[in-house]
């Protein structure tokens, strides 16, 4: 990830995928249900967007400011210092609150793995970041699914990274095919 300053491109595969998905699904609606149905869909989408987009804009603001306030050097420093069960619990906590996308999380995991951090802690960190993730809760879940659903989802996801961390520690200790060879990574 050498092009860290470039950031995400605006017109890349993701954009064209979305554009073609909208075109194809829209054509199918016109074909099967006629143009009034297309108009209905536009109307429904507009009223959804009206509620969701302001929340997403605020979510992005919160996420970006958190990234500035909690630089990932701090995250890495705290993650690398611990060991054992303490490390798994702490990694879960750090992964939960750590903002940023995959281009932030994965380099941290690689660097810490090379530096000798426990694999249970790394898996707990990554799983907490993806499955519990406060950042995702704020930017995506609350706008789309509502605060109540988001809270329930948050509570029910909390055990996942902790169990995964302990399981990973056991599995990599007992099955050699699952032992990550950090020194051989590119």
């Amino acid at each position: 990830m050498s092009n860290r300053k470039a950031g995400p491109k605006v017109f890349d595969g993701g954009f064209f995928f979305m554009a073609s998905l909208a075109t194809v699904s829209g054509s199918l609606v016109a074909w099967f249900h006629g143009w009034p149905a297309v108009a209905t869909a536009f109307h429904a989408a507009a009223s959804d967007a009206f509620f969701i987009i302001p929340l997403i804009i605020l979510g992005i603001a919160v996420g970006t400011l958190l990234t500035v306030l909690v630089p990932h050097e701090v995250v890495a420093r705290h993650l690398g210092k611990q060991a054992g069960a303490r490390a798994i619990l702490l990694s879960t906590l750090i992964g939960t609150v750590m903002p940023g996308g995959p281009f932030v999380a994965f380099p941290i995991v690689v660097a810490l793995g090379r530096a000798g951090a426990g694999v249970g802690a790394l898996i707990a960190f990554l799983t907490a970041w993806t499955a519990v993730g406060l950042h995702r809760l704020v930017v995506w879940e609350i706008p789309f699914m509502g605060a109540e659903f988001a809270t329930l989802r948050f509570i029910c996801s909390l055990p996942i990274p902790i169990i995964a961390g302990f399981a990973a520690e056991k599995l990599s200790a007992s099955i050699s095919a699952l032992r990550v060879e950090w020194e051989k990574l590119p």
């Binding site: 950031g7 605006v10 993701g14 954009f15 979305m18 998905l21 909208a22 699904s25 829209g26 199918l28 609606v29 249900h33 297309v38 869909a41 536009f42 429904a44 959804d48 967007a49 987009i53 929340l55 997403i56 804009i57 979510g59 603001a61 919160v62 970006t64 400011l65 990234t67 500035v68 306030l69 281009f103 380099p107 690689v110 898996i123 799983t127 993806t130 499955a131 993730g133 995702r136 995506w140 879940e141 609350i142 699914m145 605060a147 659903f149 329930l152 989802r153 509570i155 029910c156 996801s157 996942i160 169990i163 995964a164 399981a167 990973a168 599995l171 095919a177 990550v180 060879e181 990574l185």
Partner: protein, 166 residues
């Protein structure tokens, strides 16, 4: 929605104040990052919401509820986990899609299992980040350790909803 909007606005203002006081030199970088993300989302998200709206018309109303409806229990949770594992996109695609599935009659516990499964399996992320950067062994270890846990999330949600019904 209004309390949520107010809460997020409050949070944003607090964080903005903290950033201005503690790291004023970082403000230009934060604003640039915000603008970049808004450009990306601003173009794609309306398209995703529109697609989701089209798809909700195309999907017959009884296509979802019998499988992952609120009454579908454990089999519904398993079906939701399977489906969540197959969603190939990031949040921009997944959340509009999840909203459609929910509105078509999926149960809350099943939705939680679906989203947990999507976040644990996340094919797109495995392919574009995890495999090239950390390798197959790490992916295998991670999936072996956490692959079954979305089922647990769904069951927990079911238990919580049973204990505190709305």
């Amino acid at each position: 929605m209004m309390p949520t909007l107010a809460f997020l606005a409050f949070l944003a203002v607090m964080l903005l104040a903290m950033t201005i006081v503690r790291h004023p030199e970082e403000m230009p970088r934060a604003l640039r990052r915000m603008r970049a993300q808004l450009m990306v989302f601003g173009l794609r998200l309306p398209l995703a919401i529109l697609s989701a709206s089209f798809i909700s018309i195309l999907v017959p109303p009884d296509a979802v509820a019998p499988y992952i409806g609120p009454e579908s229990g454990l089999p519904g949770i398993l079906a939701a986990v399977l489906f969540g594992a197959m969603i190939p996109g990031g949040p921009i695609l997944t959340f509009p899609l999840a909203l459609v599935i929910w509105r078509t009659g999926a149960g809350e516990a099943q939705m939680i299992a679906l989203l947990a499964s999507w976040s644990v399996f996340a094919m797109h992320r495995i392919i574009s980040f995890e495999l090239p950067m950390i390798g197959a062994r790490f992916v295998a270890l991670r999936l072996a350790s956490s692959g079954l846990l979305p089922i647990l999330s769904g069951l927990m949600a079911m238990a919580l909803l049973f204990l505190w019904p709305r």
